[in-house]
Symmetry: C2
Subunit: 345 residues, 2 copies
């Protein structure tokens, strides 16, 4: 049975949301979970939910890396943090993957350090699964693990994102785009122009440049970019969504003052929120490490934790990492051959 280690102490409502999400996950999916964190608190939570008999174990961790904590010191000093203990379970072969709703920077740093990158991967990358207008999520990769990327890094991001889209989101032949500032091949900066040529020559279903405006249209399944751009894009989208929600709530309550109006507006608003809800897709996979790592939003409710476990399970079952190794090897081989034939001519 596939086993996922869940950092039970990371999120804003930890360990409550984590434990509830874990219970729902093991009931719905053929997966076992190791809850990592303060043992007493976790036993207590499990007892409250009558979880006896479910495939849930507990492994103790005495420390927690908090949200505001500086990543570098936390990683160095907290040797018994819940995320680190969870990552060790993967390193030691006791779990196949990790799910955490903790400090994103710390999760990335710790899992990269403890579990390590796949042998063919230069830089593991964080992928965000974002809702679109067509109820068909788009995978944006990288959203913050790497800055100052080289073209070869983005080519690897494309492969990893594409495999994730196939395995976890069920797209049989995902369309892969490159985030840029114009649709034409000639548009972009030095980096994207080089990457364009690499992706065009690759076996991927590459559809060319995608502009910021078209990211959320739902026409493309995977969009590749440098981690600086991706992180700005992700956070900007979150900020805008929050601003719209706040404004809308205020405007609706101002104008729809009667009780019926308030009821109706609440319903419309709930629908609106549901469509821009990230929790459906669980969290952001950190792709390219020797194990499956899904990093959830700090405010993840139980549903997001449950879905993150589902996604982790699908990645394990779909042998995502084996595929990443194979396809990156194939691309490198293809590129070596191409440059060799250029040299011969």
């Amino acid at each position: 049975m596939i086993k996922i280690a869940v950092d039970a102490m990371g999120g804003d409502a930890a360990p409550h949301s984590e434990v509830l999400g874990v219970i729902q996950a093991v009931q719905e999916y053929p997966v076992g979970v190791i809850l990592v964190g303060a043992e007493d608190r976790l036993r207590e939570e499990l007892k409250r939910h009558k979880a006896a008999g479910l495939p849930i174990e507990i492994v103790h961790a005495s420390e927690v890396i908090s949200m505001g904590e500086a990543v570098s010191t936390a990683v160095r000093k907290k040797k018994d943090s819940s995320i680190r203990v969870a990552a060790k379970l993967v390193r030691d072969g006791k779990a196949n993957g990790v799910v955490s709703a903790g400090n994103t920077g710390a999760c990335m740093a710790v899992t990269k350090l403890v579990i390590g990158a796949l042998s063919t991967v230069d830089r593991p990358a964080l992928a965000a699964v974002m809702p679109t207008a067509r109820n068909r999520p788009v995978v944006l990769i990288d959203v913050g693990a790497n800055v100052d990327c080289k073209p070869s890094h983005l080519a690897q991001f494309a492969i990893m994102g594409e495999i994730f889209s196939r395995s976890a989101l069920g797209n049989s032949r995902p369309k892969v785009g490159l985030l840029s500032i114009g649709e034409e091949e000639s548009k972009g900066n030095e980096l994207t122009k080089e990457v364009f040529q690499v992706l065009k020559a690759s076996p991927l279903n590459f559809v060319g440049n995608v502009e910021g405006r078209d990211l959320f249209k739902g026409d493309v399944d995977v969009v590749v970019c440098d981690g600086f751009i991706g992180n700005v894009a992700l956070k900007l989208s979150e900020g805008l969504t929050e601003m719209f929600s706040t404004m809308l709530k205020k405007d609706l309550s101002t104008h729809l003052s009667s009780q019926i109006g308030a009821l109706l507006s609440r319903r419309a608003f709930r629908n609106f929120k549901a469509r821009v809800d990230y929790s459906e897709y669980g969290g952001a996979p950190l792709l390219g490490v020797r194990g499956i790592v899904i990093i959830c939003h700090g405010r993840s409710p139980a549903k997001a934790i449950k879905n993150a476990i589902r996604v982790a399970h699908e990645c394990c079952a779909g042998r995502v990492n084996q595929r990443i190794e194979d396809e990156i090897k194939a691309l490198s081989f293809m590129q070596r051959n191409a440059s060799a034939s250029v040299m011969l001519n």
Copy 2:
């Protein structure tokens, strides 16, 4: 009297919106306008609005660069395009500025080519004036004129954006931020880390890094970035706003089916749209050229054209270009002295 040349043929609803906006502008502000475009059509439009006696002249241009047209060929071949004739009026001292709702890329290329950059400016930059949650717009610069920028370019963008914020938006001491992926000084990519040090040492009111999430909070007045990032950010915001509006309209009409509900929702929706409306700020100034250039959205209604003329007038009256020349000179002088003193020590 300050005179603005208005490219009357550029926008999606040209010349109707342009002519109407111009008439409103000259009635409200102490400004004269030269309408540039197909003379017959412009005379006809003016007649329809009974604009006799207003300070509006017409200068004929036989060609138009359309929205979808490739910039490079349009710039090379259409020597009598309305935007080019308008730019020539500025070059020849017959107008102080240009307003256009045409093809943004073509407007930038033509005005840079015909009018030229200010002597101290390495790269003119396009600034977007965007609404925030606090009804206090933020200036994002550069949003697409320049990619692969050097730190010195971003420092100049900061100065230009700050002067625009003071002159056209009435901020006496604008807060200037740097778009990055973390608030700490150590966060960002190679470019932003270098720019951080330059801005920190400058006389600007530099408030440090600004994350994508905080761009629309209204806490910062000017946010500086490379044109690739800025363009992705701008278009992504436009795309998201459009997506939200569409979804919201649909959801509200589904849930508020009674006539009263529909009326109420229309009102709430109108309010919502008004708060994310760009037309209040007229358009995007291209800063750093020898004249004032304001580029409006292709879909600009008359109100946006009117406001763009107001902004152009304020920039002229506020001697924005003289200030840009002086302050960039002062910064270069300061930096030369700083490096000289480093060498002496």
